[in-house]
């Protein structure tokens, strides 16, 4: 276990009833950079996210974050260690305005320890964070009720929620889904910026072309198993990966 290994997943397995969602998956996440996880629907990608972040308990295996074993720990404790995640199904706190959505993570023990600050500072910090991620302050966007925002903003809000936690790792669960080409293109600089700020990203994605622009390492999954790992070019060439996406190997 060297210093650059941020997250280590060892032989993780999970079955729900009779369904094997994840089978014996292992990988290592190094500090810096963006790791992509790809695979067809139902391959267990989101379950991996849930297993790592404590929302689901694995049947077997271990998850080690920064040298600490976090398998089976409750989600809020894992988040407090610096491991944040977005949710595939977007549900902001819709009765609250956008910047107030960020008050929640700003009140976590992690942020209170690192940022300190007096009562009342949180509002200003929240608005600043939102501005950084693209909520135009002049148009009063941060003050709009979260439930009324369009999808693009909601995705950014979700990222903002993670970002406000001051994390070391953010797991993005299909953050591009539902967005148009131009919206994705405008989000990519944001993701790169977050990465520059020192956050390591894991991106679970369906949109391969956009993902490959960002990542240097990719893991492919199918039926709960890891079927390939490497650079995007290597992985996409593998037979197993092609079969997973296309159904059967076709020789061109």
């Amino acid at each position: 276990m060297n210093d650059k290994e941020l997250l280590k997943v060892e032989n993780i397995s999970k079955s729900f009833g009779g369904v094997q969602a994840v089978v014996n998956v292992s990988f290592i996440l190094k500090k810096g950079g963006i790791l992509g996880i790809i695979g067809p629907n139902g391959s267990g990608k989101t379950t991996i996210a849930n297993l790592i972040t404590g929302f689901v308990r694995p049947n077997r295996g271990k998850v080690i974050f920064k040298g600490r074993v976090i398998t089976g720990a409750p989600p809020h404790k894992i988040a407090n260690l610096g491991l944040a995640r977005t949710f595939q199904v977007m549900r902001p706190y819709h009765s609250l305005s956008a910047y107030k959505n960020l008050i929640v993570p700003l009140n976590s023990p992690r942020v209170r320890q690192t940022r300190g600050g007096k009562l009342g500072d949180n509002d200003a910090v929240a608005i600043d964070i939102l501005e950084e991620i693209g909520f135009e302050r002049d148009a009063r966007v941060p003050y709009k009720i979260a439930g009324s925002l369009p999808l693009g903003y909601l995705k950014r809000l979700e990222l903002g929620r993670c970002f406000a936690l001051n994390p070391e790792v953010i797991i993005c669960d299909e953050i591009f889904s539902g967005l148009s080409m131009s919206e994705i293109t405008s989000m990519i600089p944001l993701l790169e910026k977050i990465q520059m700020d020192g956050v390591t990203l894991i991106m679970i994605e369906h949109r391969l072309r956009e993902l490959f622009r960002l990542t240097d390492t990719v893991i492919a999954m199918n039926f709960g198993q890891k079927i390939a790992e490497g650079s995007p070019e290597e992985v996409i060439e593998k037979e197993e990966v092609k079969e997973a996406y296309l159904g059967s190997s076709r020789s061109k």
Partner: protein, 335 residues
């Protein structure tokens, strides 16, 4: 309904003019905001002067129910916990306060203060095991416990058993009694209103909206639910402690279902979520229930029916309805 028109709702000009800081821009704007509040507050505070002795007592009871309705609304609409057992707070607070007074001889105000705090802790501990579960479990358990408390007290014949204990010291002065409860109602109302907009309150509302996201943001939702329960039970136990000294009597009726149901009816009728609505509802339903006392069981049937009617036909409640009419105007629009 005809399909070529629709109802359009717009904020009134005055509402937009008095939003946020702009409220201070003109007397009209300030008046617009202050008028309903002043009306209710001064109306409430002046009420004791116009009532005779009997109705003043009823006002005190109404205050107790108002506190319960307020805590029910807070827990249900701002935290997502539906507490069907307000009687638990009344009973616990009342019994502790009465016992302290009867067996230790402490003065009433002191008993009330102590009972409020200790009662809150005990009530929270009782409800604690259900906090990790789906909301329905909390609802069921909060519903069951007051009744169990009654069975236990009867069975073990402690603390007065079925007959209860009478002869507790009351607060002597009817004016003190009234203004104490009215004051606490207003203070609690203001306090909760502020709380739900402060950070802690925002987190509680977030928990109600989407607790998974809150967990993923590093917050322990059980810890916050406990905080919310403590706050609600402080209010409820105060009401209970006050109640036992109002009539100078302590008995199993402190756990009666009346204390669980009437506040809920008051909250639904008054307007869930508005915080003031439930209190208002209590001040309406309690005297109503009092006038029907002669009809025996019909009383309960009647306010159950009112409750059902409101839930089905006007779930937004009185306060929200009035608020909507006050803040917005509507007209039919052709399209």
């Amino acid at each position: 309904m005809s399909t070529d028109r629709r109802k359009k709702r717009l904020d009134r000009k005055l509402k937009a003019q008095s939003d946020g800081l702009y409220a201070l821009s003109s007397w009209t704007a300030m008046g617009y905001l202050m008028f309903p509040r002043a009306l209710l507050i001064f109306g409430l505070l002046l009420l004791p002067l116009f009532l005779d002795m009997y109705w003043q007592r009823v006002l005190c009871s109404a205050g107790v129910y108002a506190l319960l309705a307020l805590s029910f609304d807070f827990l249900a609409e701002y935290v997502g916990l539906v507490c069907l057992g307000g009687a638990l707070f009344i009973g616990v607070g009342g019994y502790i306060s009465g016992t302290l007074n009867m067996y230790l001889g402490w003065p009433p105000l002191f008993c009330i203060a102590t009972a409020t705090v200790t009662g809150a802790i005990i009530s929270t501990l009782i409800l604690l095991p259900s906090l990790r579960l789906r909301g329905i479990y909390f609802a069921i358990i909060s519903f069951m416990f007051p009744m169990f408390a009654v069975y236990i007290i009867i069975a073990l014949n402690v603390l007065g058993g079925t007959e209860g204990v009478s002869g507790l010291e009351t607060l002597q002065n009817i004016w003190v009694e009234q203004y104490l409860i009215l004051g606490i109602v207003l203070v609690s109302l203001f306090a909760i209103r502020r709380l739900v907009n402060e950070d802690t309150g925002l987190i509680l509302r977030a928990i109600k909206d989407n607790d998974q996201a809150v967990k993923a943001s590093g917050i322990s939702i059980t810890a916050y639910k406990i905080k919310a329960l403590l706050i609600a039970s402080l209010i409820g136990c105060f009401a209970g402690a006050y109640m036992s000294h109002l009539y100078g009597w302590l008995g199993i009726s402190l756990f009666s279902m009346d204390f669980s149901i009437l506040p809920i009816a008051a909250a639904v009728m008054g307007g869930m979520g508005s915080l003031t609505g439930p209190a208002l509802g209590a001040f309406i339903l309690t005297p109503l229930s009092e006038t029907l006392r002669g009809f025996g069981q019909l009383r309960v049937v009647l306010y159950s029916l009112i409750l059902i009617a409101f839930i089905i036909y006007k779930p937004e409640g009185i306060m929200n309805y009035i608020g909507r009419k006050y803040h917005q105007f509507e007209h039919w629009e052709k399209f």
